[in-house]
Subunit: 450 residues, 2 copies
């Protein structure tokens, strides 16, 4: 494929893969080495989107011509010889809870229809500086609440893609874009990753500025990164923190603790069995970790904090706007209105206490291992799925990785969730690399060449 | 006084001052230079306390023999030749809102009668490490609320010493101890300093750990330092932050802004006139600063946050305990119970907004200048006095200094309050040094010799 000239010819890599199917790392390296152009990759992504979007509905906004124009500008910029960012020329999807000055930013809500902020969110600015080409805005549930988004699970259109970074997870897994940006307050990146079979990274609280995004509860507001491999995930994370770009597989066997936390009784038998088999096959002993009883309150704390902030933010809106909201948002606002200030402070103190307890647990373990979701993707008619297994870690601000290493009874993916120490993002990604290395991924090779 | 041997002889410095009247700096230097012993200074302080305490009531706990024993230990420690801390051998009073493992810690409340924590507060540990000899616990209002403490103003026993670090201010001004530790959430150091004529420093929020103290509202919890001169105040502050130990007078004339903030209509005519005369006599132009209108909400925000935290902390106590509380505490709890979580979050957001506005104001000024209190010390029957002039700066976490540079119509002191940039504690103390230098202090000389 060296020195290829026409877009048609560039649509296939030397191993027969279409350009939209290539890994982010391969694409970035090839663009940097002038073996690919940004516009050719963009065309392949847009072609895939054109074919699949009517069914998958991963995008809330996409202007193909504008996206092409941005890709061409990336190529022109490169031709100027100026230094390139780590994601130069790479198509990336951005969940529509981030402000974009050149695209609508509606947070999945009718009430913000046509909203065009004047400033990019900080995370979007960072992607631009890293050279990424933002393709469009991916679908989200309304204000990221537990409510279906328009998106369908690309692996089985009759199933939920999870919430609320559903569009980002679906776009990545369906090979519309190699990377997509999500957010997570409770489970919004981990759940869609588990349901759709994506690799996801929710960094430590404070990892990235959330300025210009839909922050529901400040202490729980995280970015979420979605990709099709762990290697791509680290490339993505490296754009935010350079030290994560070259994460290495942990050299020593990690000390892993197996957590069956709050909500474990909702885990399906096939998911339990799949996790048990994975753990039994590991080359290290995995210690069972009983969470302190205080963690039984975690979901109550999460929902209480969320509802209080919803009441604060949306409580004074006109009745008509309130009635236009999705039921979970209306219910959250109503529940939040009846919370007292004293109870709010109690919830904050509990959150602090749980964070301290979680930090203590992670002194003895390199990572905690649990499921990302209670089972395979729910059927659409069963609702968007439960984020119960992610909530405690979001509340405590700990970094998590979701790896699509398990399969359920319908051969749909189930994520393995690894939880790391606050600030130990690099170590956590190292454990994740170790785990993906020791678990055979259906015998597939990830080798790509351009 | 060199080589003096007997306690009797040591009680007088060479200029005729008693040892308890000497400045903290003089005492520390003399002890370090072996011209004084810690026990001789302690004896002089205890003698003064024995004479005055029945009327002033500055102490909630004092065990003279135990204090002597601690002073002797300081002398023994010095005899061992080990390195000395910056406050070595110096008698210091500690407001009884700090936990002490070797003295009762009752936070001024019947409900905590006889409480003996197992750990010292972090600030108390720091004083010990600095070599200070904690004399005893100084009186406070109940949990630091706006309610009289047992203390009387040492300058006029019929007047209020302010709240809630009243015992610390009275003990310092009455020459019972050269330094005393207070706290401030709203005005608890600045008001007693103004009423009693002490020099006070409330550092930037975050300056010192408040662990082990009576924290009412975390974002407003500050230590407060009280002394009889600015020089002693910087010695004291230097024990917490070494860079403050040798603050120098500002070399350039400071850019000062004169603030007549919320509550200015309660300022008495004599206080206004005294401030106007002081400003008119300064060798620099002082700019009038109109606070943004958002500051009109400052008091509401302060009280709302306080009440919410009171309801959270005390709301679930038995009725009998509740009824034992002073009226302002009961009223605060009741008011706090009716606050909603949404309103609490609104108050937090307003506090953030005010902090940002205050920070912007201080870009144009080296310090803001205002009064520490609305006038002279109130008569005891009029209540403990108003902290309204300090509240906005406590809320915004800005460092303040109170200097007893003014006199009211009854010749009682009125403090000048300087407000600095967050983190600009050293610069603020430099401005305070400049101001005290240019304002003649009744022609008194502060020269001391041992």
């Amino acid at each position: 494929m060296n020195h290829a000239s026409g877009t048609q010819r560039q649509a296939l890599a030397s191993n027969g893969m279409r350009l939209n199917e290539l890994s982010a790392r391969t694409i970035v390296d090839a663009i940097r080495g002038r073996r690919l152009t940004a516009i050719s990759v963009m065309e392949a992504c847009l072609e895939r989107i054109a074919i699949r979007e009517p069914e998958v509905k991963a995008w809330s906004f996409l202007d193909a011509d504008a996206a092409r124009q941005r890709a061409r500008l990336a190529d022109e910029y490169q031709a100027s010889g100026l230094p390139l960012g780590p994601l130069h020329g790479l198509p990336v999807g951005v969940k529509d809870v981030f402000d974009t000055s050149n695209m609508p930013s509606e947070y999945g809500s009718q009430s913000l229809r046509g909203r065009r902020p004047t400033e990019d969110a900080d995370a979007v600015s960072l992607l631009h500086r890293a050279g990424a080409v933002v393709v469009g805005k991916t679908s989200t549930s309304e204000f990221g609440m537990y409510h279906p988004s328009p998106t369908h699970n690309p692996l089985d259109l009759s199933r939920s893609p999870g919430v609320s970074s559903a569009g980002s997870a679906a776009a990545v897994v369906d090979r519309m874009v190699p990377l997509a940006l999500g957010t997570q307050h409770t489970a919004s990146t981990t759940l869609p990753a588990s349901f759709c079979g994506a690799f996801a990274f929710k960094p430590s609280f404070g990892f990235a500025s959330m300025q210009g995004s839909n922050v529901l509860v400040p202490r729980m507001a995280h970015i979420g990164l979605l990709a099709r491999s762990l290697d791509d995930l680290t490339l993505f994370a490296g754009a935010f923190d350079h030290s994560l770009a070259d994460v290495e597989v942990l050299r020593h066997p990690p000390r892993l603790g197996l957590v069956r936390g709050p909500g474990w009784d909702s885990v399906s038998p096939d998911a339990r069995q799949a996790l048990d088999r994975l753990v039994a096959g590991l080359p290290v002993a995995v210690v069972n970790v009983d969470l302190p009883s205080e963690f039984d309150m975690a979901l109550e704390v999460v929902l209480g904090l969320l509802n209080a902030h919803l009441a604060n933010r949306f409580g004074a809106l006109p009745e008509q706007t309130f009635r236009s909201f999705c039921p979970p948002l209306q219910e959250g606002i109503v529940a939040g209105r009846s919370l007292s200030a004293a109870r709010y402070l109690e919830l904050e103190a509990m959150a602090d206490r749980l964070s301290a307890l979680a930090a203590a647990l992670l002194c003895d373990h390199d990572a905690l291992l649990t499921l990302s979701a209670p089972g395979e993707a729910t059927r659409l008619e069963e609702g968007p799925g439960s984020g119960v297994l992610s909530m405690p870690w979001s509340l405590c601000g700990l970094p998590t990785v979701s790896l699509p290493l398990l399969r359920g009874m319908n051969d749909m993916p189930i994520g393995v969730q690894l939880v790391g120490r606050h600030g130990g993002d690099r170590e956590l990604l190292g454990v994740a690399a170790w785990l993906t290395d020791v678990v055979t991924l259906d015998g597939k090779s990830s080798h790509e060449q351009i």
